[in-house]
Symmetry: D2
Amino acid sequence: MENWDLFLAPYQQVVEELKVKLKVMREQFDNLSDHSPIEFVTGRVKPIPSILIKAKEKGLNADNYHEIQDLAGLRIMCQFVDDIYTVIELLRGRSDFEIVEERDYISRNKVSGYRSYHVVISYPVETINGQVKVLAEIQVRTLAMNFWATIEHSINYKYSGQIPENIHARLRRAAEASARLDEEMSNIREEIQEAQKIFHRKK
Amino acid sequence: MENWDLFLAPYQQVVEELKVKLKVMREQFDNLSDHSPIEFVTGRVKPIPSILIKAKEKGLNADNYHEIQDLAGLRIMCQFVDDIYTVIELLRGRSDFEIVEERDYISRNKVSGYRSYHVVISYPVETINGQVKVLAEIQVRTLAMNFWATIEHSINYKYSGQIPENIHARLRRAAEASARLDEEMSNIREEIQEAQKIFHRKK
Amino acid sequence: MENWDLFLAPYQQVVEELKVKLKVMREQFDNLSDHSPIEFVTGRVKPIPSILIKAKEKGLNADNYHEIQDLAGLRIMCQFVDDIYTVIELLRGRSDFEIVEERDYISRNKVSGYRSYHVVISYPVETINGQVKVLAEIQVRTLAMNFWATIEHSINYKYSGQIPENIHARLRRAAEASARLDEEMSNIREEIQEAQKIFHRKK
Amino acid sequence: MENWDLFLAPYQQVVEELKVKLKVMREQFDNLSDHSPIEFVTGRVKPIPSILIKAKEKGLNADNYHEIQDLAGLRIMCQFVDDIYTVIELLRGRSDFEIVEERDYISRNKVSGYRSYHVVISYPVETINGQVKVLAEIQVRTLAMNFWATIEHSINYKYSGQIPENIHARLRRAAEASARLDEEMSNIREEIQEAQKIFHRKK
């Protein structure tokens, strides 16, 4: 890559624009005094060393780096598992980008224990030379999924992807605990909603 | 207006999105090591008291407040007068919004001495209830125009629009000095560009 | 309170200053390629309705609102329980504020299941009328503690503090699951550190 | 310099902290519905190529780079010349840093036409290894001074400091026009203040 700044600029732009757009969704629920399915939003451009590793894995050269789906990465954190699907519906309903692919690692979760819902989009970016469409990946997860994934990522990084089996086993147990936590939280959510329905009926 | 937060939310959103989008244009020129016609960008939602004053002036009631063109206001500051027209061309070339009106207060400047180029756009905003189109005003000006306008605005505010004639006269003289400054700067710009052409030809 | 903006301004200032200062601590660890005990930092000024509720509970009138310790609130999120104590040591070592009180809700956790470490500080703020010292509360917790606390807070808010016993029981079970998750994560952390020590010894 | 990130980190921190602190001063005047002597604040860490050029000029090696006074640079823009001196008084009254040097390029302006008031401070920064004191430069100027300085800087950069005499002459004339503009503005300011005094006496 001759000029990384130039290559990554539209991805930086997508991250900035989508952070604003997704954070606003949260505020819209707040303005309506409604439960927001979005707790918070983060975003980042993939660091150059990670791009090089991924390109090698996928056999891509500099001309094809734009095929990497998560150069622009957004993450939406939710309180409850059900909120994830509400967010997905909201994303599907938008007309400022096109959904290219969806990967549901929640109903069919990965061997590692990773859970998350990934949406790959094609996003039109206005540059000073006209409009270009670039890929971006939006990961939607609960706070518990994110907590586990953050720690798994840092362990994975320390072992360069070669996590020893005994640690792997512990990580899987932690992933199960994280999933159980989400289940218990979901149960509470249903009770809250039932309680609210009873309350509103009584009024 | 029953719920100002709800009414102003899409305008806040336009301001946030456009601030990101216009600032990025500047970075794109920087990445190309090219002179950026954009020096800096600011944005604001019109304060509620100012909305009420303008609505009264225009005889609008709450159902028609969306007709006010500058509820969402962006301001692009340029170094040179010529940069303004470069920016206007860049705005005309974009496909993420539609230009509704242009007002050139530079070639035909106002009696007050005000100089600026206004572009009113119709901008599609994604809300949780679907897409809506809202108006926004982009003001493009040099730093000298902005300097004068900032001070004129604060004086105007202090006198509630009834600036005494002797102060008005001084403001107009200041406006002329500000315009002369822009002219001298433009002359320097042409010399720089000529010098650069000679330099490049010699290489 | 006659002028909330004026009263809350120094608290807003403390939140802004401390967010910058605490985020920088994280970057310093990143610059040293060292594990950062800080994952992320958030901050907020207590909303006015919550101030009024707390003032009523504590029997305070407007002259004594400044005695409320969490008008300015900062939150530091950590990956591991041990990181919390590293952060506390870092806070104790600073000379830009004074620690007034510490409350350890981790070793002695609350009946509700709430776990967190609270540090109340007295922070000198420069205003245009000279220096004033205001209280601020820094909460230090793991991501799992924060996940649980966020949800408990929203449930508590919905029930105005009167959470029904059956939901309370579920929340406590969720709190236990959250604590177990932290324990398993801590075990993994120790293994990582042992693995790293072996690695470094072999070099 | 072996590790620029590590070396520049405390300067980045000073810039971030001071931007927050100085912007807050403006809000404090706004909260009091008083004229703010501060219009806006910007900040930057000196870019590495500029550090290297300055170090060469001053005969400094990497061990002494910390002697460069403007590694951390803040800029406060004012509407009126008189506001500059109000700001200087506010800076002198603060106890969160110490003023090391003041340079008044307004009453005694530079040959180039440059006008600005520079305050060099020693600012205590808390790092994870304890407190360190670093230098920072705060430039205080009117919008007109800033407008001229911005353009002079970009011309100077293009000619690598060797601005041809004919362009130099034009820049000086522009500087004079900029100074005249400030004078006319100051006259208006005095009238406004007199008008306000009359107004308040009549009430």
